[in-house]
Structure formats: C-alpha cells, structure tokens
C-alpha cells in the first residue's frame, strides 16, 4: 500500500510500488488530465510537479513519490481564486489545439515561472524543449509564458504594495 499526497489529498493505493506514477495518477487516483505520450520521458505529456519540480511521471516509480507532494494539472490552481496565471494565459492566447500535450506544457511552464519570472526566449527554449506538441502550438506557448509572467509579476507587485 502506497500513501500518496496528490493535490493535497492523501490516497492509499494498493499497487506495485514500481508502477510509474503516471498510471497511478490516472488509473488509481482517477485524475486523467495527466497524459501518456511516450513512456520514455521523451515528450513531456506526463509532466507533474514533485515537491514543486517538474518530473516525467511515466518513468518515475510511484514509490519515489511517497512522502512528497505531487501536483497535477487538476491541482495547479489550488489556493488561488480561479485559474493559475499560466492556465489563464493559455486561454487568452488560445494556445491549445488538440490539447493533449497541454497539461504537460502548462506544468513545465508553471515550473519555469516559479523560479524565473522574466524568462528570455532561450530560457523558454531550454525549459520547454522536453515537451512535444504535434499540433505545433509553440509560438503561442511562448506568448502564453510571457503573458503569464507579466500577470505573475503584477500579482507580486500587488502583494508588495498591500504589505
């Protein structure tokens, strides 16, 4: 039995501890926003946050997540009023097409902006190069990240001025 903290909820799951976290999240916790794309950490569709850092859940054994905090696309806006700024920027820039890779794209983008609120194009390339989009939404992903960065910075400024 594995005890996993997914989006702030504890799940006790009876599964082989070597099972990739991806399938535990999808098939046992029932959170299907995280996607299977390649099974080899090549495409990024399965990206989730483990203690805030982006990981490829398709190659991460579920046992490695015990005692840690897992955040999926369903939980990324937790504690916020409405959507995460990256999610909102994705709507404002009309980023998704088929949408299948976008949970992973959003998780990678959110992790980038967590430690870099003004990423350069090169930094965006580096942070996002692990996420494939076969619809080719890359130009809009880039715009979305820049828009979300502005929102995050504005929220930070508001927080400072409130103090």
């Amino acid at each position: 039995m594995l005890r996993l903290n997914i989006n702030g909820t504890l799940h006790d799951i009876d599964v082989d501890p070597e099972t990739p976290l991806l399938w535990v999240i999808r098939d046992y916790a029932g959170l299907t926003g995280t996607k299977y794309g390649c099974g080899m950490a090549l495409c990024g569709a399965c990206t989730v946050h483990l203690d805030g850092a982006p990981i490829r859940s398709c190659v991460t054994p579920a046992s490695a997540a015990v005692g840690r905090t897992i955040t999926t696309i369903e939980g990324i806006n937790k504690g916020r009023d409405g959507l995460h700024p990256v999610q909102q920027a994705w709507i404002d820039e009309q980023v998704p097409q088929c949408g299948y890779c976008q949970s992973g794209q959003i998780m990678s983008a959110a992790a980038l902006l967590e430690h870099n609120v003004a990423p350069t194009d090169t930094e965006i390339d580096t942070a996002m190069a692990g996420n494939i989009c076969s619809c080719g939404t890359y130009p809009r992903i880039r715009k979305g990240i820049k828009r979300a960065a502005l929102t995050i910075n504005a929220l930070a400024d508001d927080a400072v001025s409130d103090e």
């Binding site: 099972t19 029932g30 959170l31 299907t32 709507i91 949408g99 494939i132 989009c133 880039r142």
Partner: protein, 740 residues
Amino acid sequence: MNRLNRRTFIKTGIGAGGVVVFGAAIRRGDRAASVKSLVASDNESLFDIWLKISPDNTVTAIIPHSEMGQGVHTSLAMMLADELDADWSSVTVQEAPAISEYANYALARGYTIGDTEFPAWLIDSVNGFYFQATRMIGVQQTGGSLSVRTTGQIAMRTIGAAARGVLLQAAADEMQVPVEDLVAQNSVITHPATARTATYAQLAPAAAKKTIPDKPTLKDSSELRVMGTSPQRLDVPAKVDGSAKYGIDAALPNMKYAAIRGAPVIGAKVQSVDESSIQDMPGIRKVISLGDAVAVVADGYWQAHQAIGRLEIEFSGGANDRNQTGIFEQFSTDLDRSAAANNVKIDFVAGNASRAMAKAATTVTAEYRVPFLAHATMEPMNCTAWVHDGKCELWLGTQDPLGFARKTARAIGFDSDDVIVHNQYLGGGFGRRSLSDYAEQAAQIAAQVHYPVKLIWSREEDTRHDHYRQACISRFRGGLDGDGEAIAWHNHYVNKHDPWKATRIPYAIGNQRIVHTVSRTPVPWGIWRSVDHSLHAFFTESFIDEMAVATGRDSYQYRRDLLAGAPRFTAVLDLAARKAGWDEPLPKYFGRGISIHKSFGTIVAQVAEVEVRDGNPRVHRVVCAVDAGFAIHPDGLIAQMESGIAYGLTAALHGEISIRQGAVEQSNFHDYPMLRMNEAPAIETFIINSGESLGGAGEPGTPPIAPAVTNAIFDATGIRIRELPIRKNNLRSEQHHDEL
C-alpha cells in the same frame, strides 16, 4: 450590400438571384422526430437535426464532426449562430451521435454542386444519388479540410436561417403583428413599435412545430455579426484544466486494460504464443491472439504493458525481405521501365510537352525523394470497448464515427446498428484516426470477455503500426526557350493517391505532361495531413525554383511572371513576399525561400528565413499568406496555418520511417524526432478575404513549408535538397567556405 456580393461569398453557385436553395439540408419528413430522443431532452426544441433551443435560452449546435484541435466545433457553431441571430455567449455545441442521419451528405452535396478538390473517398461515395449513396455507405468523416465549407455552409448556416424564420413567424403569431415589423437579435425577438419582446426559448416550442422553410435566405457579408470574428474557442477551457476527455480517459465500472504487440514485420502472422512466459505475473486476466497481433488483458495497464513485453510470441511470414533501399530501387526501376515503354497513367496534359522539350534551348532535370512518414499523434491509438447485451459500445477518438461503427461491426460479426460509438476529443488526428484498426482490435478483445476493456497502444506500437504517408520518387524535366521562358513541364512519379489534383501547378507553362506509375509496396499507407499535397508541393515548388535558378532570375519574380494570368495566386504570393521583406538584405549564413501551393480550395504562400551554420539548418521565421475565400474565424485560420507549418516542418527536417527486413525501424520520439520549442520558428500569418469559394483550413498550411525551407537553404548555401528529410543532406556549404 447587394446581392452580387452575397453570391460571391457563397460561391458554391447554388440557386439564382441570391436566394440560396438547399433542398438537401432541410429535408421534409420526420427524421427530427426519430433522432430527438438521442440528442435532445423533452423540454428542448429541436429544429431539423442540427439545432436545439433550451428553456434557459441556450442555443445548441449539433455538430457531426470531430474536434481534434482544428476548432471545428466553434467555427460551425458560429455559422449557425450568425444566421440565427443568436446570442453567441449562450451558444454551445454537442457532438452528433454516430447514426446515419448525421452521415456526410453535406460533404457529398458539396461535391455534387461542383466544388473542387474533394478527396477520393468522398467522390467514390457519391456516385449516383449522393445522399442515398453516402447514407448507405455511412461516412461521417472529418477530413479533407471540408467541415466549414460543406457542413458549415450547407447545414449550419441553412438551419440557422431557417430556424430564425420560424421563430419570427411564431413571434408574429404571438404578438399579432406582421413578421416584417419584428427584429431578431441576440436570441430575442423584439417588436420595436410596442417594445414587446420574446426570447427564442419562449418562442421555440411553437416555432419547432412549424414547417421550416427549405429555401431560407442567408445573410450577405455586410450582415455578418459572428462569422469573420474570432471568439475564444469553445473547447479551450477544458483543455487547460485537465478536464477535457479524450478516448484514453474513458473510465467504466469494472474496466480492465489491454496492451498489444502487433507483428513487427508487415503482413506477418502470429505463429505461436507461450503463455507460460508470463504465468507468474500479477493481475493478468487473459491472453488473446488476433491473428496479426497479441493482446494481454490485465487489471492495470502497467501490468498488461509489462506482460506484453515479456510474452514470448512467434510471428512468421510477411514482407521480411523488404528494405528501404530496395523499395526506392523498385520505384526507380518501375519509373525507368514504364517511361521506356510509355506505359504510364496520365494525370494531366496540356499542349505537347515532348515536342516543346525537343525544341528547348535548355532543359533542366531533377529527381526528388521523400520517405514514409508517421502521424505521431500525441495521444497514441486507443479504444475502450464493452460488449454486452448484444451491443458493442466504443469510447475513442475517431475522425469517422459512423465508418468505425460499420467496420468494427464487420470485425466482430455484429450489425452496424449494434455498435455504439461514443466519440471523445481527439488527441491529434492528422488523418490517422480515419483508420479503424485500433477500434476493431478493442472490439475483438472485448468480445472475448465480460467486462469493458481499455486497449492502449504503446508509443512503439503507434509508430510501428501506422498507416504511413507514402514514400515517393518524382522526376522532372523542364524546357526553357532561348529567352529563358518556360515552355515545357514534364513530371513522372510513383503512386498517386489523393486528391487527384495534387500534382497540378498554377504556372502558365503551355506544354505540360504529368504522369505516374503504380509501384506497389507492402507498407500500409493512409491519409496524412494534406495527403498527396504534402509531397507534391515539395516536388513542384522545388523544381520551379530550379528552373528559376537555371534562368538566373529571382525565384519570387520568376513565379510571379508565370502567375500573370492568375490574379488570386499573384495576390497571395505578393503579400507573402512583401511582408517577408523579400528584397531586404539578410545576415551572413541566412537564406530566404518562397513557395506557393493551392490545396483544399485554399491558396497559401510562405517565405522561410533559414540560417545554415556548420551544416545545421535553423528556420528562424516563416511568413505565411493565405486566401481561403473568407476566414470564418480568422484567429482559427491563423492557428491552423501555424499548426500546418509546424507539422510540415517536423516532416521536412526530421521525419522518416524506414523499413528494414520488412519491419519499421523507428519506435519512439528518440528515433522519430518531432519539432520542439527550440526549433520552432516565429510565424507571421496574413489573411486575404478574396470572397471566392470557401477553402479549407486544417491542411493547406502544410504543403508549402518544405519547399520554402529547402529553397531558403539553397539561397543560403547553394545546396539543392532533393531528398527529405533535410537532416539526411550534408549542408556544409562550399558557398560560404571562405567566410568560415
């Protein structure tokens, strides 16, 4: 706005005097009654089979097409809402069920009214009585970049206008005033003289009982309120919070999981399966041989996946003597032989190319090659099937729900009516989800158990068991007279598929001979975004560039001169060149290339800026001009151009499926690489609304990008790329050698 303009906008050429006649869309009879229980609740009013109005004044467009990111749910709803004068903020969509009433008769109708460039599967289906034939054949296809220009133009707009008409009549009855005195706007009908109002919801029950007009007058372009704007797509919110449901997300009580391994060699069969090789593995329910594949059913997907990897399976037979080089040698030999024997199939002839070629002062020759390509949808093929109570239910993403029902039924010996397809969002289509192999497998597995089964192909299965874009060799000979004018165009290639005009050029070259030879391979082929256009635009737009080079003229001006009699092409070409700054100097190591191609009724020109340094190409910028007649959703058209360019760029730079001993060599994204963020160019798209017939959006952006890029590489390096993918070519340039 006068009627002439409206007729220009609708230019499908139906009817006369600006009154559009759509007898097919609004058929008499009781089919609405027969489908109402499937698509509407008791308190909703259904108009024909395409539109319903709810008590809360919500307008629902019932869409017979799959949403795979092309935005069709939104654009079709816009077309209906505009004609209906509905409040866009309260318009929603519902995907039509997979029943014959929603078959693609509108597509067939589009063909029979003489629009151009409809694919062969459609043409085949509409011989004879288009509606009856299509209905019997049962096609409910999303493809051919057709949805807006057929279902949208013919079904959605017509029912919107027709329903508006009966709502106005119902209001006139209710208020006891002439219809002419009423105004319909934002889902409310107003009688301005008395300031009385009634919502569509209030009027809908009475209106739905009226006979809807079968010749409603559509709006002219000055009256459009929704079409031509870019509201946010209806499917986007669910795609940013993880709630969008794809086929792979289906979940049913007591569901089990299946993993599968297909015969690696094309055409091979299962010889034997040693179940003892997995007998100690946990959670295994059943091992099922499907003849050319073996599936393991287990309690969890990971258990099934592990087991199928360990299961000892012996396959035998198939095309295990076939290799990639042999396939191209066969193409080459078949081209040689058929040319020598003059045993070729003719695509197109104008003038006398042979005679003109004999008189030419200069001839230019080239041979181009492209490989097989995978679709590589991000969502691997998958299907959940449940066989129970004499029915088979399927949850999946498909581009043809009705066709899948029919083919799956045949695979398990059911009647088509007993297969129920629950279509979900498609995690990529690109043509792959038109082929029902994965659904048939899931149904065959589910037919042997008493619980629902979710079959998921691994990425490796998806890569190795695709229906590939065909490989091809295409040969050209061009003739120039003493003044450098193009007088002859000869093209001979292998394996024509679809659409039949893909090899045609827009250029005014008087003598043309375009022919092909059949050279069969065992490699399964399928519809791949833009189909034959994806290869032939690379061939023709490369060769016209080579002819320009042979004359020493600028490749943009050279094309422009040959397009003098084609003003629509010229306008698109000029716009792309101007926005790209065609004549502006570029940095060292950079080159610029141009291309133009018409496909699916839409003309697209692209200018690529490419840097080649140390033999490595980097596409920095693509400028795209597009004329689709009229952009129903301009931002959606722009998004489809961006997507088409990225998809074509993945193929041009990286894409290659190769065959070794009868098996596909590639397996996953490490050996079938895709365009990534760090390679994605900036893309600028500019739209021309020419008012000509509506063209498609999903595919026409793909064909021009490969030649735009390879022409740019030539400009930068002097190296002409005649074989894709580009990475197979050595781009260490002699041209810049002294500068390095």
